[in-house]
Symmetry: C2
Subunit: 205 residues, 2 copies
């Protein structure tokens, strides 16, 4: 299996399948079909079969997919069969929300540190985390071996912080700041900007 | 121009172009090129020219695009040349963060109400908004004529609330709950689930 050969658009759908399958497993279901999974995620059964077949033979014609097997396989493919440590930068409302977010549980992630440059915020508790001084961030992230960060700082500060994160060894950034980041080719960035998501929908209203 | 004929994937890129162009305008720039815009958003110049040409002729070979003209045109296409009222459901950490979010300014949206089913939260202030009782939600949203909602409730409650929102006339839902929603064909849904975004990146680590 060569990561380079699988289109990014397919990789993008796998976490959605995984989430639905984990939910089915939580409900006690044992097997499913591409039809049923498709209804849950709003993607055609044919597309699901095609996507999943990229990674090998998972189901038998007529008997469907074993949910447990497919969950384990998808977790392995997406490398979330382990727990990744995540750093949060920015202790404002959004940093607060992501640091306390319960949705990382069983999904492969745990927040391990939160940083802010505002000395007023440093030392304060957010849930179980004490906000750390952004001046110590590079050293701390290196020390912890963190590869993933969530960036929840204002747009004007985001590129500077991203540069520091890359310097510290971070290779995946989930960017909440409403600005596109320039990063080296070996660093992945995903953006969460509610205005962008809303504007995708107003076109159709 | 027929909305049905423009692929959804192109519509998805237009808000990203608009955000970068608005930032250029804020910096006082007057014109740009597909090359320059491409560097800002990490998309090839050829793709940008192709996307933009779907909507007519915006630039002249050699002189580039007028930023102001393109901003106005994209805002018109995406229907954010007006202000859309948005309701927030769920007054937890995430509802709190999106209700106070500053990034909606000049992007076409404003929050007008926030609801929660927890009587302990009802009546409390979040920024300038008083949390309203979810029991009054359908009537209030109908009265306000709100078409867009952000759903920040636990996964177990999300489908039920989505059904109520649709009943109230909402036609676009930005879903923060970690679950796929079933909605009628005339309702648009976009999902924000940080675990999904993170899992898209761990594949490459």
């Amino acid at each position: 299996m060569n990561a380079k050969k699988i289109p990014d658009i397919i990789i993008g759908r796998l976490p959605v399948y995984l989430r639905a399958l984990q939910r089915m497993a939580d409900m006690g279901l044992k097997t499913t079909s591409s039809q049923e999974l498709g209804e849950h995620v709003g993607i055609s059964a044919a597309q699901i079969r095609k996507d999943i077949s990229q990674f090998g033979e998972f189901g038998k014609q007529g008997t469907g997919y074993s949910i447990e097997y497919l969950v384990n396989k998808l977790r392995e493919i997406l490398k979330v069969d382990r727990i990744w440590d995540v750093a949060v930068v920015g202790a404002g409302d959004m940093g607060h929300a992501v640091a306390n977010y319960q949705g990382f549980m069983n999904r492969g992630f745990r927040v391990v540190a939160i940083f802010d440059s505002d000395k007023e915020k440093v030392g304060h508790l957010i849930g179980e985390f004490m906000v750390e001084d952004a001046e110590t961030m590079i050293e701390r992230i290196r020390g912890l071996g963190v590869r993933i960060a969530m960036l929840a700082v204002p747009a004007a500060a985001a590129q500077g912080v991203a540069d520091q994160l890359v310097q510290a060894g971070v290779r995946a950034i989930l960017n909440y700041a409403p600005i596109s980041l320039n990063v080296p080719g070996n660093v992945k960035v995903q953006c969460i900007d509610p205005s962008i998501h809303l504007q995708r929908m107003t076109f159709y209203l």
